[in-house]
């Protein structure tokens, strides 16, 4: 295990402890705030799994989040689907994965990379938001769908009812922790190393027998599937879905969370999502129009001053201390 891995696990464990301790000090409302922020943290981690490992930015990731949300909403609101909660979650994951597979297939196997990929995915996000607004007989148009019931899973003797604040907080914390841990395992193992190789030199990786396009496609699909899961979880916590949740603004925000938290770290983006949403609430409470300005400025500062994210301050400080230490 490398030093980097140990640091990651330490940070992960610290985060877990904070999540466990928090309910002893917080009231129900505060728990739901953190819970919803964590769902967006999961969304950020899903983008980071793709962007951080391949170096290719998907600027329409909210399309998958929104699609997952709409699928969940439609299945649970239908009323005749058995095990609606579970079917909704699986359906959301599958729908997002399928959309990513279709878009990704044509892009990756067509040799589209880099900023062209970013532009096409940006357009995809805009199209999805437009579809959500226009197809009002299904999606409820501009006002979206409301009255989505809290997640209730009753399957094989296991009964989970997430109408309670604490129960839903615990459930989401567990899901986020497990998914982030799995993504981390995938990133540091064979899968991640081959992706790093492809990012370094795709032609070389292909000349060694790796099917780079397929590997990128599968990574994109996994990333989108998790974004879809996050979207589905969000709508059954919030109880509503609207076209904004598949739109450009959310895609921009998730990009900022990842960039601020530290691309390629998986944990950083979760922290980034929590911190920035908190800041957004504070700032919006005294002046709502100030927030987009600050968000934009923050993004620019991060990209120029701390391209590896805010968490990289620690490793930078460490490097400075090492330099000033007398040589042994």
């Amino acid at each position: 295990m490398t030093e980097r891995d140990r640091n990651w696990l330490t940070l992960f464990a610290t985060g877990l402890i904070l999540l466990i301790v928090y309910p002893f000090f917080a009231d129900g409302y505060q728990l739901t705030v953190i819970r919803d922020a964590l769902i967006f943290g999961l969304f950020a981690a899903s983008l980071d799994f793709f962007w951080g490992r391949t170096g290719i930015l998907c600027f329409g990731h909210a399309a998958f989040f929104g699609l997952g949300g709409y699928v969940m909403a439609l299945i649970t609101l239908n009323g005749s689907v058995p095990l609606a909660g579970l079917v909704g979650l699986l359906g959301a994951i599958a729908a997002a994965a399928l959309l990513a597979a279709v878009i990704g297939y044509f892009l990756f196997f067509g040799g589209i990379r880099g900023s062209y990929f970013t532009i096409v995915t940006l357009a995809t996000g805009v199209i999805c938001q437009q579809a959500a607004i226009s197809w009002s007989s299904v999606t409820g148009g501009d006002s979206g769908l409301i009255g989505i019931p809290p997640l209730e899973i009753d399957f094989a003797g296991i009964r989970i009812d997430l109408g309670q604040d604490l129960a839903s907080y615990v459930f989401i914390s567990i899901i986020v922790a497990i998914v982030v841990l799995l993504l981390w395992q995938l990133s540091r193992g064979r899968w991640g190393k081959v992706l790093t190789a492809i990012q370094d030199n795709e032609v070389r990786a292909a000349a060694l027998g790796h099917n780079a396009s397929l590997r990128l496609l599968l990574t994109f699909v996994v990333s989108a599937a998790i974004a879809g899961l996050a979207g589905a979880l969000y709508v059954c916590m919030a109880g509503l879905i609207a076209p904004d949740l598949s739109g450009l603004l959310l895609s921009t925000e998730v990009t900022v969370w990842v960039a601020v938290g530290g691309r390629g770290t998986l944990l950083g983006p979760v922290v980034g999502a929590l911190v920035i949403q908190r800041a957004q609430q504070e700032i919006s409470s005294f002046n709502p129009s100030l927030w987009p300005l600050i968000l934009g400025l923050l993004f620019i500062v991060i990209v120029f001053a701390l391209p590896d994210g805010v968490l990289s301050i620690f490793s930078r400080l460490k490097a400075i201390f090492r330099k000033t230490e007398p040589a042994r």
């Binding site: 064979r190 370094d200 032609v203 070389r204 292909a206 000349a207």
Partner: protein
């Protein structure tokens, strides 16, 4: 010559009005070592690109183990057993030396050597944990040769493997190839005559896109025409 593993017949390549290659026949037997030499602009790299299937010739055909590989995806060609070392050392700079070899071994199902054996073979066991981007130039070249060997090829094509190496490193590279000879076929495109002399193998001389001579290096070296166009003007 044993049965041909790679057979190129009547290869011609045109880039617009320029004839880069013209009517070249070439064959490499199984487990044979051979070299392609020629002055700058002779068409060596173009010919290698044709042999590896990455460039479709305007005329002629290339058969690897009896089937055409021209136009197949790079990864398919690698999986059939064709390994290639590029002219510019192209290792994965963000991965360690060991990880570079791991990634190479995972590319195909035919890896014959363990990463540890490969590290020893290319003498990089002491820097196994170092990032490949931080290696010295000669070490990068060796790492890339190691990666090409790692996929367990039937045919190894090397494009100027000793470019930028010191004379000692060049000779060590020749020794490495001589050790691997007999395990799989090797074709080296080279510029450095000392290297080719050390390999002392079947050699094809290209000049202005045409085959000038071919045969054992000793005969080539003694050939008057070859001396005039190439060896004499070092």
């Amino acid at each position: 010559m044993s049965q041909a593993l790679l057979k190129a017949s009547g290869i011609g390549v045109r880039f617009g009005g320029l004839k880069a290659l013209d009517g070249i026949d070439y064959a490499v037997g199984e487990r044979e070592l051979s070299c392609i030499i020629g002055p700058n602009g002779a068409g060596k790299s173009t010919f290698l690109n044709v042999l590896t299937g990455t460039l479709r010739p305007s005329q002629g055909s290339v058969l690897f183990a009896g089937t055409s590989i021209t136009g197949l995806g790079l990864n398919r060609i690698a999986r059939l057993g064709v390994a290639r070392k590029f002219q510019i050392p192209s290792v994965f700079p963000s991965l360690s030396v060991e990880e570079n070899l791991d990634v190479a071994r995972w590319g195909t199902a035919s890896a014959a050597r363990s990463t540890k054996e490969l590290l020893e073979l290319v003498q990089l066991d002491r820097v196994a944990g170092k990032l490949a981007g931080e290696l010295a130039h000669g070490q990068k070249q060796w790492l890339e040769i190691g990666m090409a060997i790692a996929i367990g090829p039937k045919l190894l094509l090397l494009d100027e493997p000793t470019a930028g190496m010191t004379p000692q490193e060049t000779l060590a590279t020749a020794e490495l190839l001589l050790r691997l000879k007999g395990e799989f076929s090797i074709v080296a495109v080279e510029h450095d005559i000392r290297f080719v002399r050390a390999l002392d193998c079947e050699t094809l001389v290209l000049h202005q896109g045409r085959k000038l001579r071919s045969g054992p290096f000793r005969e080539i070296e003694a050939d008057e025409t070859v001396r005039n166009v190439y060896l004499g003007r070092r």
